[in-house]
Symmetry: C2
Subunit: 219 residues, 2 copies
């Protein structure tokens, strides 16, 4: 079994590394970090580089595909026809599971893979997900057939555990959770629009376009 | 303000990247990834490479130091006198906060920084933490003076939010939690020894030495 995690410039690194920490511990599975080309890429903020060990050409038939989200930069290359979209469409034809974390769901939707499907994404991007043809659904993690999407960064960890449950069994999923000691106890309860103070949400919506694409919000 | 996150071979990548995702969003703070030498290092499992942008020589006075844990390999170089330990001791003299995530607490203890202090670590390493002079305490995140330790990988995210609360205020911490949509909802409740099935815990304890150091458990 091969699990491919896509990386690209300005990615939200936790969206990729959370699932990596879970998937990389599945017995008998190979987890591979894939970029358009092999080599280092810079995450959002520019302070952290991850290394893509394989290029699009190297990975043609993964069993699981994970697409992380991004922050602070336009990602038109990922959302429009091009090399990345072609690769995602091609490998998706053979995956058992195709996953999007945070705004990674927009990438899947942009490739036409979520049309008419229930999906979730980062709360600032829900309208855009719908505009790309998906049916925006409530939930930290949403399954629709083989497509699974997570709303936030920690949701990528939750998503990975849920997929591991399906591909390797609940015992393996629970053992991995114990091994990595994934026992979150956030000191505040502000991780979603339902829980955060209303004023904080509205302020962030006002400047959210910048967070997502480095420019005015797309409405 | 400078926040330094240490990286090294066989590190548990989520221990570093969880705090990174939080700290890197603090306004006015610089987050820097530090290795013994600049360049890529491989995390535990070997499938993911992170790039150290700075060497020990480059970072002499960070305000916050974060030391992640590791898995699947001995880390004697980090636990015994040597270049890493000397650097950690030196920069700790000027930090406002010194943090260990997972087995990262052992590194701090090995450097003599947790002697007599309350601290936590990965559940498989609690005995070793005590053997290194710390007072093992219950809790997902434990503060003792400027030293803060987290039991697990997700605890690194919680730890980071708690430190951000102290250095930048609760409003900033909550806004970052909302921005990264940190709203964990684990599908299983097996992330600690108190919650996981007893048989799973005992099985893992039997093979846990391998997880921690690639050899027999140190008792």
């Amino acid at each position: 079994m091969q699990i491919a995690i896509l990386v690209f410039e300005h990615m939200a690194v936790l969206d990729a590394v959370g699932p990596y920490e879970i998937f990389s511990r599945v017995p008998g599975a190979e987890t591979i970090i894939v970029g358009a080309d092999a080599g280092p890429v810079r995450g959002a903020g520019g302070d952290l580089g991850l290394v893509a060990d394989a290029s699009f050409d190297d990975v043609v038939s993964p069993d699981v595909l994970v697409v992380p989200g991004w922050a602070g930069s336009r990602q038109d290359d990922l959302l429009r026809p091009g090399r990345a979209q072609s690769w995602i469409r091609a490998v998706d034809e053979r995956t058992s599971w195709t996953a999007g974390v945070g705004t990674g769901a927009l990438v899947l939707a942009g490739a036409g893979l979520l049309t008419g499907r229930r999906a979730t994404t980062h709360w600032l991007a829900v309208d855009r997900l719908a505009a790309l043809g998906a049916s925006a659904a409530d939930g930290a993690v949403v399954f629709d057939g083989k497509y699974v999407t997570a709303a936030g960064a920690s949701g990528g960890i939750d998503l990975a555990l849920m997929v591991v449950d399906r591909i390797a069994g609940e015992g393996v999923a629970r053992a991995i959770q114990l091994l990595v000691a994934y026992d979150p106890q956030p000191p505040f309860d502000s991780g979603s629009v339902d829980k955060a103070p209303a004023e904080m949400v509205s302020t962030m919506r006002a400047v959210g376009g910048y967070f997502l694409d480095g420019g005015p919000a797309v409405s």
